[in-house]
């Protein structure tokens, strides 16, 4: 299967603090990759670099065969031109930990805004697409509701639908259930699981180990800005080879 995301040796510092110290990974079409690791290990920063919210200090990122950024032999980091970056951005969907729905728009309008004003779809096309996604999320009856009228789990499902409304090649989730009450995580995980079953290409940062084990094809364990270990979900959860990984997993499996 073709590679949708290729991250090669990326580095990122905030001031003197190196937060990503040479991260490399690939995600192929249809694959679900889980990123796990203690808080502060750089997982969000990695997603933010790939989704163009942070610029990198070294390394390269390729999305769907197109170079987003590369570093030449002299060490200079070169980003693609604006139009390429924009094209790449539209191939990438991002689901935030705290949803970030637009509070002044109805659920339907949240889902239609980007297809209409970015992809220039007609209103009726965008609406049809939005309604189909809402029914998939089990939220058909909420299309006219405003975000404040929804539970956290429902809001997160809307925000997943909103990201999918642009039909991205790859979806990124940054701790999609961390802002939710425990009894609401299930409905969101169920949706992500169903996306995985349809071979949606995804990268999921999560602290839900059982979920990661079940849904992810591959798993990356990060600590202090570096990848300690990566492999298939079975291999990593079944028998991690690094002491640090094992420690982390036992802490979470209690």
């Amino acid at each position: 299967m073709r590679e949708i995301l290729t991250v090669s040796g990326i580095r990122k510092s905030f001031g003197a603090h190196e937060v990503l110290c040479g991260i490399s990974l690939t995600v192929r079409k249809g694959e679900a990759l889980a990123i796990i690791g203690p808080s502060g290990s750089g997982k969000s920063t990695l997603l933010r670099c790939v989704t163009q919210f942070e610029t990198i200090d070294g390394g390269a990122i390729e999305v769907d065969g197109e170079t987003m950024v590369a570093t030449d032999s002299s060490g200079a980091v070169r980003y693609a031109d604006k139009s390429a970056l924009r094209r790449i951005r539209l191939k990438v969907g991002l689901v935030f930990q705290n949803f970030n729905l637009f509070p002044h728009y109805s659920v339907l309008r949240n889902l239609m805004e980007a297809p209409v004003s970015v992809l220039k779809l007609s209103k009726s096309e965008a609406e049809a697409r939005a309604l189909a996604l809402l029914s998939k999320m089990g939220l058909s009856d909420k299309s006219n509701a405003y975000p404040y009228q929804l539970s956290g789990g429902q809001q997160q499902r809307v925000s997943i639908a909103r990201a999918m409304a642009l039909s991205p090649e790859i979806l990124f989730f940054d701790e999609p259930t961390s802002a939710l009450d425990p009894e609401l995580t299930g409905e969101v995980l169920k949706i992500i699981r169903s996306l995985a079953d349809e071979d949606t290409t995804m990268v999921i940062v999560t602290h839900e180990m059982a979920f990661a084990r079940e849904v992810a094809d591959n798993v990356v364990f990060m600590d202090e800005g570096a990848i300690v270990e990566q492999g298939s979900a079975e291999a990593l959860f079944g028998g991690a080879t690094h002491e640090r990984t094992r420690q982390f997993l036992t802490r979470y499996n209690r």
């Binding site: 919210f53 509070p103 002044h104 970015v118 990201a163």
Partner: protein
Amino acid sequence: MHGIDYPLLLRSMVRGMGTSLSLFGLTLAITLPLGLVISAGRMSRNPVVRNSVRAYLLIMRGTPLMLQLFFFYFGPYYIFGIRGADRFTMAVVAFGLNYAAYFAEIYRGGIESIPIGQREAAEALGLTRSQTFLKIVLPQVLKRVTPPMGNEFMTLVKDTALANVIAVSEMFDVAKKAASGSVSAAPFIVAGAFYLAMNSVVEQAFRFAERRLSYYQ
């Protein structure tokens, strides 16, 4: 003591009201958009722009509006030896520059109170910066600035009376002259009723606006 010529008084008071209302309306027409531009300058990443705007805001908010009226009306003559524009125009300039400073800070408060996640979500969806501002940020800012703007509007209604210091024939100026000519408090009572009536319209309008914007939280 002579009786008051009521028809004449009424006519001049109606003219005064017209002048007060024009001052109010023109000031808003200038300051509502200008305040937004100034708030952008206040938040600029360029330190020269940002600090110049900060100095402007300090001067406008830190000195009496009455003094600013004097400055704009008499300043051109005393400093450059030239005649400035007419009284009314210079009053509009002074009110415009003064109120734009307050509006700019209200806008800035509103803009900075919108969580960064809103902008990031819009950007992640591919909206351009101007689309993000116009469709996502600005509508939410307008909701948040409505209550403090209501305060400012009501203050402006009353502040228009200050234009009398450069002898603009607005409501208060007319009332003052009528009162001293007739030795009667009636013109002041009429003026007071006028400001109160105008502000009750402002208050109603803001109540309506807030209700219209209450469909989301």
